[in-house]
Symmetry: C2
Amino acid sequence: MSALADPTRRAIFERLVDGPKAVGQLAEGLPVSRPAVSQHLKVLREAGLVVDRAVGTRRVYQLNPAGLGALRAWLDRFWDQALAAFTAAAESEGKHEHD
Amino acid sequence: MSALADPTRRAIFERLVDGPKAVGQLAEGLPVSRPAVSQHLKVLREAGLVVDRAVGTRRVYQLNPAGLGALRAWLDRFWDQALAAFTAAAESEGKHEHD
DNA sequence: CACTTACGTAAGTTACGACTTACGGATGGC
DNA sequence: GCCATCCGTAAGTCGTAACTTACGTAAGTG
């Protein structure tokens, strides 16, 4: 969750939606240096949001659906309970009006 | 998205899942001061994740399903494309093996 | 109408994270 | 084997956000 907090990291993440890319490719369209991108990718990798593999001298990164799935599951857990709690609160409000 | 980056803010968020709570109630179980909680709630409110209303002298906060829904929609947009890109990459890998 | 309760905001400090430059290691080409 | 390419990591700087204490304000209580 906190892995997607930084705007630059989100930009990298969004760029990877189009498909796997090398570090240099990712850094090319961003306003930060290549080492900075490397550091961001490390965070994303440790968060399970991307996976990497070596291809010759370069390192290709791509999104990890499992990581996204975990995030979705986490969010859904809130979603259900939040809606229930919200509805309950709304009904409680209605009762007060009815008094 | 960045609103849920801070651990303390996530703790507040999770506590609100059980239902609406006042600022003092929220601060009670947290290792930070009450003003700190107020500041966090301001961030969450501006992010559209919670709504607040005055009840007597206290201010009750609760989750905003609309905000959660927006987050879910944002995430789902990635989910679909990420899965497609991942599948495509996997197939491309399979072809190489087949060579 | 004093007093208490509950909260938001201002000001200031501090810790953390994002970034840069510099360097070293691994792979490919000729 | 030698040079070029591509990348990760280390060290250091700097901005920002998270936290504290102090204060002011609005609403209940007797």
